[in-house]
């Protein structure tokens, strides 16, 4: 019988297992890949760990720091394994391909999936050469093959920007990044160092209306949208379309178990312990909420790890939680349930771009400059300040 089983061996899952191990003995990580690290090994650029390790690392190096620590601990690593079914019967009964294990608590750290062409509905032919940014990145930076020579990128998410830069470095022609919103969804630093450095144009208020091609992509119809109306359209010759339309939390197992989900985050509803509506089941990382940077995912992992361990020992305090009411100007707040009994770091996004945002949660206030929905906001709510539990932009 395990005290804590972590599903997913990415950065969030490894951090969760390491933290849990400080409190309890029997800890395991179940990971479907043959290696730990999640998405990080394929992110060969720098920019990881500035907050957590106070060092500017690449993805593989950030992952390695955690992998080394995990391997030095007596944590069971069930690699190349897959959770087939999970039953909650007092303890959690976890059916793996290689057998059944049991645990007092579970942590879901299953990461996210990229939105595909079919999730965002681009009509037209179905030739080869249409792929997600993560797939293009895998071709290029894991296997060493250029996925296309004349590339159009749909969506300005960070993965798309980062892939655009690598393609340009490798002499592919990146014709442009087309973003339907009036502002980019990736981080500013990536607009500068990925697009501006390589003279890649960014077309805001633009989208792809149709893909044409018999065997391989031949051209795409791009359109400019203003106030919901199509004002201009044009065919662009290309051989590859890369979709960088964002990530969706991966929560198949939790949904099957009947956990309450938050349609705004795509993750489960959690309290400040990062415990879901199913007692003893915790969540962290990109399966909880899409994190801009890995540091946040790791911090959530540590919170979930500590609390799952305490739960397994019957030592997790029984608190009364209030649901945060999401008001004007706010897209979501995570955790959704807060007690007000201790300081808690809320993660939120605003619903539209603002030059100055005066944010209020309960009796706490914070003013931020230049925020838009693609900036993740961290908001410290001190104990005793929960007040009416409402979050809004004043």
């Amino acid at each position: 019988m395990y005290d804590v089983v972590v599903i997913g061996g990415g950065p969030a899952g490894m951090a969760a297992a390491l933290k849990a191990k400080e409190f309890v003995d029997m800890v395991a990580i179940v990971e479907r890949n043959e290696y730990l690290g999640g998405i990080l090994p394929q992110c060969i650029h720098n920019g990881f760990g500035l907050q957590y390790f106070k060092e500017d690392l690449t993805g593989p190096e950030f992952a390695n720091h955690l992998v080394e620590k995990v391997k030095n601990e007596d944590i069971d690593l069930l690699l190349g394994e897959h959770v087939d079914a999970l039953k909650n019967a007092g303890n959690f009964k976890i059916q793996l391909i290689g057998g059944k294990i049991e645990s007092k608590s579970v942590i879901f750290a299953t990461g996210a999936k990229e939105k595909t062409r079919y999730m965002i509905n681009i009509p037209g032919d179905r030739p080869s050469g249409v792929m997600t940014a993560g797939t293009a990145q895998t071709f290029l930076d894991m296997h060493g093959y250029l996925p296309g020579k004349k590339v159009v990128i749909l969506g300005s998410g960070d993965i798309g920007l980062i892939t655009a830069r690598r393609l340009a470095m490798e002499d592919a022609e990146v014709l442009g990044v087309y973003e339907i919103l009036p502002y980019p969804s990736g981080l500013t630093r990536n607009i500068v160092q990925c697009l501006q450095d390589y003279d890649i144009p960014l077309f805001l208020n633009h989208t792809i209306l149709e893909i044409k091609g018999k065997k391989r992509v031949e051209k795409v119809l791009v359109g400019e949208i203003k106030d919901g109306k199509l004002v201009r359209k044009e065919w662009v010759d290309c051989d590859t379309v890369i979709i960088a339309a964002g990530l969706v939390p991966n929560n198949k197992l939790l949904i099957k178990m009947g956990a309450e989900m938050d349609p705004k985050t795509g993750g489960p509803v959690v309290n400040e312990y990062l415990e879901t509506s199913i007692k003893g089941a915790f969540s962290c990382g990109n399966s909880l909420v899409i994190n801009d940077i890995v540091d946040y995912a790791v911090i959530q992992g540590e919170i979930a790890g500590r609390n799952a361990a305490l739960y397994s020992k019957g030592k997790l305090g029984d608190r009364k939680f209030k649901r945060i009411e999401v008001g004007r100007g706010i897209k979501f707040v995570m955790p959704q349930m807060v007690s007000g009994e201790e300081d808690v770091e809320l993660i939120m996004r605003v619903s539209e771009p603002m030059d100055t945002a005066k944010i209020r949660v309960g009796d706490e206030r914070k003013t931020l400059r230049f925020v838009n929905p693609s900036t993740m906001i961290s908001f410290k709510l001190k104990s005793g300040k929960l007040g009416d539990a409402k979050a809004e932009v004043l």
Partner: protein, 112 residues
């Protein structure tokens, strides 16, 4: 001369107002010392961390990843990439190994 930059050091992405006056560089808007350093460097000689993938002897479907331990001149990044793309890494190379030195900056292996 006055110019506005967006800092790329961390995800905060501060807006930096940079003024060059009588040979001095004045930076405003930075929220940490790294922002100020970045802005000064960016107006004199922009630099970036160089990273790329390299083939490994005997491997057909797997590439190793490398990076520079300090930033290198931005204008040289593409040339460097071409240079490294032509080389093969020895298959006994390990993560952390130094494989080259460019302008006094080590290039190290980050994944193999």
């Amino acid at each position: 001369m006055k110019t506005t930059l967006r800092c790329i050091y961390c995800p905060t992405g501060c807006t930096l107002d940079v003024e060059i006056k009588d040979g001095r560089i004045i930076v405003k808007g930075d929220r940490c010392t790294k922002g100020c350093e970045y802005a000064r460097q960016e107006v004199i000689d922009p630099k970036r961390i160089f990273f790329t993938v390299m083939r490994v002897e005997g491997e057909e479907y797997k590439v190793a990843a490398v990076r520079s331990v300090a930033p290198l001149p931005k204008t040289e990044i593409k040339k460097l990439n071409e240079k490294f793309a032509k080389k093969h890494l020895n298959k006994n190379t390990k993560v952390g190994d130094k494989i080259a030195n460019i302008h006094g900056v080590d290039i190290i292996v980050t994944r193999i």
